[in-house]
């Protein structure tokens, strides 16, 4: 046990500290961008003109229907070979990871937003239009705030998933938590300690995120839209 604590304080914590920071640099922008993409795509799927609905549907099917690791490889390894005239786009590992996670997360988020939008009674839009709002004002001021509250538990779950699948970034050489853990494990051969501790780090991240999402849900709660206490 003592041995473990020494290993923990001298090797793991310092090593994970850097990895943790990198994980956060990947997770936070991916979660925010993913939510934004999800909201835009979700709204377009419901209220957009037909062709736009088709395009967003296709986006969602593509990104939900292919393995995330394939998407990550595509953005990191394949994108540089696609020529836009003279140009090609080369992403560094963190950029490629954030792009993949945002697009994938956005596809799932849009599902929750879409069903949230569907749960708002059409009559409220009619009432908003009857007051002289444009459709876009009605969607922004009346439908979205309600749909967002209804979608929040689902969207929160997706962010929890995102925290966990962010570990895939290690495969394209991002030295986030999992990448760091791999390096330490290779050098120390103390696999049990390394990976159990790694698990604890993710558990802590997920716990903090869950708690923050609760706070957000409570802050947005109005009668009729409370969090379902379980």
């Amino acid at each position: 046990m003592n041995e473990y604590f020494e290993f923990l304080t001298t090797e793991l914590i310092p090593g994970f500290k850097e990895g943790l920071w990198t994980s956060i640099v990947v997770i936070v922008p991916s979660a925010l961008l993913g939510a934004l993409i999800g909201i835009v795509a979700g709204v377009l799927r419901v209220y957009g003109p037909r062709p736009v609905q088709r395009i967003t549907e296709a986006y969602v099917s593509l990104f939900r229907g292919t393995p995330l690791i394939v998407q990550v490889f595509f953005w990191y390894f394949a994108l540089p070979y696609i020529k836009f005239g003279e140009w090609s786009l080369v992403l560094d590992p963190i950029e490629a990871a954030v792009l993949s996670f945002s697009l994938c997360s956005g596809a799932y988020q849009s599902e929750y937003i879409r069903s949230g939008l569907g749960s708002i009674k059409r009559g409220q839009i009619r009432a908003a239009l009857a007051l002289g709002m444009t459709l876009s004002q009605a969607v922004r001021n009346i439908v979205l705030p309600q749909a967002f509250r209804r979608a929040l538990p689902g969207c929160g779950n997706e962010i929890i998933y995102l925290i966990k699948y962010s570990s895939l970034a290690s495969i394209i050489t991002v030295n986030e938590l999992t990448g760091m853990a791999n390096t330490i494990a290779k050098n120390s051969w103390r696999n049990i300690e390394v990976f159990c501790t790694l698990g604890m780090y993710y558990l802590a991240l997920v716990t903090i995120a869950t708690w923050m999402l609760r706070l957000l849900e409570d802050a947005l709660a109005v009668p009729g839209f409370e969090r379902h206490k379980s």
Binding site: A127, A128, A130
Partner: protein, 271 residues
Amino acid sequence: MSAIDIEKNGDVPMLEAVNLVKTLGGNRVLDGVSLALPKGCVKVLIGPSGAGKSTLLQCLNFLLPPDAGHISLEGRRVNGGSKRELCAFRQKVGMIFQDFNLFDHLSALENVRVALIKVKGMSKLEATERALAELARVGLKDKATLYPANLSGGQKQRVAIARALAMDPKVMLLDEPTSALDPELIGEVLAVIRDLAQLGMTMIMATHQISFSASLADEFLFMDKGRIVEQGSPAELLGRGSQSRTQSFCAKISELTGVAGEACELGDIKA
């Protein structure tokens, strides 16, 4: 509009619809409906379920754009194709729905205020003041902070009325404003509507409250199968000895509900 203009426009109806046609799902739900609402008059739409009353009211403010026919407000024809014009028109035409359609995530105050801010561009302060005044008018000033989930049906409908009135409409369209209410809550909503009529608001209301509307209406419009088949003052249509379809329809309703009976007896019918 100046006093002189009003004088000049004295005979131009506030709201006029000419030959409205609407087909829904292959059904000709409105089959050439024309009506005129002079300033300050109250017309009541009655008729069997499926007659097209709700469809007509929704066509009047283009929530359902009519397939043919046209609509004028104070003599000016509304161009339903222009978004800008539609929004301006709808501000002047208040609508009350059977199931209230309050915005569920907003308090009573915010429900009334939101369009003042977003549509009329009022400051938050100004809008709040106006909204509170409208809530006071429907007797709900002390419920301003409550959310729809915590309001009774009658209170919800009164908030919806306050919300519409805050926009300073020139006409109100009411689609069965009390049909979704428990009997003991109907009275408080009808009282608000009666006040409005007495203040000279131009209104058209679909309803099954025969007795109430007979005491209020300048004219009854009886609709069936997408047409207005009878129209006239309550006294003409419901008076003793009248053979009108309106009369027999009302008698049928009163048999079912047992309340409209005295109305058909011409209790306090507006002549």
